[in-house]
Amino acid sequence: MSTYGKGLLQGLAVTWRNLTRRSVTAHYPDVEPDLPPRSRGVIALQEENCTSCMLCARECPSWCITIDSHKETIPATTEGGRDRSQNVLDTFDIDYSLCMYCSICIEVCPFDALHWSPEFAYAEGDILDLTHDMNRLREWMWTVPAPQALDAGAEPSKELAAYEAKKAQEDAG
């Protein structure tokens, strides 16, 4: 039995199946999307952690981070102690019109000052407004979710293993 005309029927069948099923459209403005963990929406800055080490600005492939800082001297707290100096941020701008969301800045930061937030709705009418200054970047911190829990049966993190080994040693010793 040849299958002459089978394709014609298949065309009708496929479209009919789609018609009778629910569409896959995401109704975004009406329904907030269900984002996967570790979604890259916007970069948040924990200003207090930043030491102005410039690693992020230097590693950024699209040169979208601008950092400016000055040194402040913290007077010695004890008599005869040494004054300490600390870097204080003046400027920390991320230009999201340049950012390519590669996450290198976040991975390179040694002090956990940068974090991904899943917030994505920060479109602007003017491209200049896409440059977020450090106050705005600090505000995004409130939207940073807790780290994703490990999958069931996953290897525990190396940090945790190291911590437990150290603790066991201390208890024994």
């Binding site: 014609l8 065309g11 009708l12 479209t15 009919w16 789609n18 018609l19 569409s23 459209t25 109704h27």
Partner: protein
Amino acid sequence: MPEVVDAMLRCLVVVAAFMVLPLVIGQMEHKAMAHMQSRVGPMEAGGFHGWAQLVADGVKFIQKESITPAAADRKVFELAPAVALVPYLVALLAIPLGPFFGQGNLIGQDLDLGLFFVLAAMSVGVLGTLMGGLGSGNKYSYIGGMRVAAQLMSYELPMVLAAASVAMAAGTLSLVGIVQQWEPWWLLTQLPGLVVFFVAGLAELQRPPFDAPLADAELVMGPLTEYGGMRFAMFLLAEYAGILVLSALTTVLFLGGWAGPFSDHVGWLWTLVKVMGVAFLVIWARVAYPRLREDQVNALAWKVLVPVALAQVTLTTVLVVA
């Protein structure tokens, strides 16, 4: 005086149907096509599932500038949308909707030559696209126009033959007469004719999968390339009015028009339901099938539809005479 009022009323009803039903079909196309492609289609305009999308489109089209290209044949170019649209309105005048709550038949004008009249009007509608293609002064439009001409030549014959088969079986050219003569077993004996008529009608309207003249990917909408604003909207409306006329004609000729339970009262509803069903098939064919190549279009007409239509006519002749 009452005759004048009666005529005015009928014209008003026909014009109202002409304004509303194509939009209903257009909206159905938006939504049905979207869902067949796992989308949702318009959702915003008008609030409820985008019911006012076509109204919004119309408002947009009105605001647009009407441009006539310098190279265009001005009069032909400007007249073409009207030539495409008006014949369908004229054709609609002669198509019966059926008994209206025992008040007689709902029809613009019952013509003795109704079938002939409607088929003639439908063919004139295609000339509008042809004029647009030849008058635009654009190569794409010109090729599109040539394809329209080829398609018109090929598909007019099987369409008329299929219609003639029904007219022979009914023994009349009046559309009301044909429906009155219609019997359910015609669904079987006239089935090849039904298929030929429907397919040829699709081709005549240049609906996908027979939209080689428009072929937006290769000919940039062919005859419609240079049109914009209100003129383009008229072509669009003509397309949907064409679907309406084709569906109505298929219903009246092959599906028994208003035949159905309680047809003395709600016959017109039966006709509308059937028309919408056929219109749905037109939309379904658009979504399900890819566009035929130009040579395939003509091969289908001459190698398949014409022989089938001739066989149908022969079969009908035998049945009528026997």
